[in-house]
């Protein structure tokens, strides 16, 4: 059986599984559609949160970014895990106690203002849509390679499948579908990593392999990699080349963005108790850490394998002739995500740091998917990775679309535009808004503002600057009032969005940017790191505006008191 048929079979089998579960769990009433009837066990919820969380950015894109950035990209690892600490301590238990369905609902009630609620809905939609664009990029990359179709066709197939089960299943479908997706994606991620770790270091555990000796040289793997990179003129893998300021702010931005992303927060509305909400965050991180501890090993080992492929006789000898290139190179060439240009006309693949002499360009988003092919692993492993990558991208896209649709139908239409809307009408508007969101994300996903993980990092910056500060102040301060919260959110969102657009193009349209991340507007702060500054401004503005305007009413102070203690959490459920 050839690789193409095998890919189709494995991907098809996993899709049949997810869709089967989605149909089996078909949602009936609105409360089931949004929050799965609040009957989800912390371990199950943790696993589903893991699948929801680990998107195309984590699965398809992150290891590739690490492979090319080394130490400098550690912010992705720390940021996308460290945020769970903040979530567990600063938000999840209190939002569960509050006991409503959506993030804007909390913001609207706590800041006793429909304006605050509407601003929160806008923040949520902007952050989630940016996030979905990144997912669509990943879906496009995965389908274009494994179904051997062009990128746009891949994107359209992916969008259609996301639409199908997110719309039909609702959250409950998604919870159990996502457990299945987690299992598929974690197996798909770790199996090739174990094979490769064994090949390169003899250690079956990739996180241990990363810090072990390479069997080829007898020296530690990382020093071997540093040596090869030096020969080719690249900086050491373990060396810091980014500024400390940017690394620090990028990590802050990803961490608080993690805690401010609505599709993750709503997961904690679905556990039975406050205690479960705290443990759920821990379980989610256990399942996430399995991938995040493996990813840096995958990155370093993929870079090593890539160099060894191009320089089969060592980096001091002649590189590989283009005509002798392995099959994976020509496969990926067809997608346009990998390219060779024989600048000096010698027919050999020169892969060096100097951009003028380098002839080999590899899109970072292909590394994880190409990794098993580069390491010459069996065909079934390659097919499994395809299924895993699609599971990661589709599950997160579905979770985000859920968050967007509930914000529109529940927080915008039902609460403000038409309170008399029937349950059926609310469900319909949820589904329609999901469809609209998919169309926009697919359109923008065809021309994304960066690699999947970078686009997603922008979404985190936006969530960090707008939603996280409002939620945290709403719980930890009784003094922040409606005017302060609205002013803070608007400032954080607009300042961050403008900074991103100045660097990535207005509304992500290529060519409309005035600055680049290589030479940013402020100091060395890249657009992906600016969320931290936006969040700081949000806090400052909310604080001063609140203190200059009238105090919060007594019933709001009581609401905050009530949110802070776990007892009575079940009574708060309004159905």
């Amino acid at each position: 059986m050839d690789q193409f048929t095998l890919n189709l079979l494995v991907v098809g089998a996993t899709f049949a599984l997810y869709i089967g579960i989605a149909i089996w769990a078909r949602a009936g009433s609105t409360s089931e559609f949004y929050a799965a009837g609040r009957g989800v066990h912390p371990v199950v919820n943790g696993m589903a949160t893991g699948a929801d969380w680990m998107s195309a950015a984590s699965f398809i894109s992150m290891a590739g970014i690490i492979a090319f950035g080394g130490y400098n990209t550690s912010a992705y690892l720390m940021g996308w895990t460290g945020g769970y600490v903040l979530l567990a301590m600063l938000l999840a238990p209190y939002l569960r106690k509050f006991g409503k369905f959506t993030v804007p609902e909390f913001i609207g009630d706590r800041f006793y203002s429909q304006t605050a609620r509407t601003v929160a809905v806008i923040c949520l939609i902007v952050a989630s849509l940016t996030y979905v664009i990144g997912q669509m990029t990943g879906v496009g990359v995965a389908f274009s390679r494994f179904l051997e179709v062009d990128k746009l066709t891949g994107l359209l197939i992916g969008a259609a499948i996301v639409f199908f089960y997110a719309v039909i299943g609702g959250m409950k479908g998604i919870t159990y579908t996502q457990v299945a997706q987690y299992v598929v994606l974690i197996i798909a991620y770790t199996i090739p990593a174990i094979f490769i770790s064994l090949q390169l270091t003899g250690n079956a555990l990739p996180p241990m392999g990363l810090f072990s000796d390479a069997t080829s040289s007898g020296e530690p793997l990382l020093s071997t990699l540093n040596g090869l990179l030096n020969d080719l003129g690249f900086a050491n893998y373990t060396e810091q080349t980014d500024t400390t300021l940017n690394m620090f702010l990028f990590t802050v931005s990803l961490m608080i963005g993690t805690a401010g992303l609505p599709h993750v927060i709503v997961r904690f509305f679905t556990v039975p108790t406050v205690k479960d909400a705290r443990y759920s965050a821990g379980w989610a991180l256990v399942f996430i850490a399995l991938l995040y501890l493996t990813a840096p090993a995958v990155g370093a080992m993929a870079r090593l394998n890539l160099i060894n492929t191009v320089y089969p006789n060592g980096t001091t000898e002649q590189p590989l002739a283009y005509d002798d290139r392995p099959e994976w190179v020509s496969n990926w060439e067809q997608t346009g995500l990998l390219s060779f240009e024989d600048k000096n006309g010698d027919g050999l693949i020169q892969y060096v740091a100097d951009a003028d002499a380098n002839e080999f360009i590899v899109n970072r988003d292909i590394i994880t998917l190409a990794n098993p092919e580069i390491a010459q692993l069996p065909a079934w492993v390659i097919a499994l990775v395809a299924a895993g990558g699609l599971a990661a991208a589709l599950s997160t896209a579905a979770g985000l679309l859920m968050a967007i649709s509930s914000a529109v139908s529940h927080d915008l239409i039902k609460s403000q535009i038409n309170p008399e809307i029937s349950e059926k009408g609310e469900l319909l508007s949820a589904r329609v808004s999901m469809g609209v969101a998919i169309v926009i994300a697919t359109y923008l996903g065809a021309n994304p503002p960066g690699f999947a993980a970078q686009t997603v990092a922008l979404a985190f910056g936006l969530a960090a600057a707008s939603i996280f500060p409002a939620l945290m102040m709403g719980i930890f301060s009784k003094r922040i009032n409606n005017t302060g919260a609205v002013a803070g959110m608007v400032t954080g969102l607009i300042v961050t969005l403008v900074y991103i657009f100045l660097h990535k193009g207005w509304f992500f349209i290529p060519g409309t940017n005035s600055f680049t991340d290589a030479d940013p507007l402020l100091l060395s702060i890249k657009s992906t790191s600016f969320g931290a500054i936006g969040a700081l401004l949000n806090f400052i503005v909310a604080y001063f505006v609140s203190n200059a305007t009238e105090d919060t009413p007594q019933e709001i102070k009581e609401l905050v008191e009530a949110v802070r203690v776990p007892r009575g959490s079940s009574a708060a459920v309004d159905h």
Binding site: L77, V85, L90, L210, K275, A281, L285
Partner: protein, 86 residues
Amino acid sequence: MASQQDSSAYWSKNISIIKGCLIVWFVSSFGMAILLRPLLSGIEVGGTDLGFWFAQQGSILVFLVLIFFYAWRMHKLDVEYGVDEE
């Protein structure tokens, strides 16, 4: 909840537990992996230094321990103050 006083005592206890945890959170990530890395460069771990290990592995392990510690500690506090869910 017995009284207003109990409620604020419970909350300030919670705040001080959070502060302790967040100090560890900050030191293990921003501290060891970024700001203090130059100072720790002499400590070798598998072909590189301790700061690199914290940046790509150590911090994640610390985060895991922190969340479970917090969940366990807070449940104890809930019971102590009689605010746990029946």
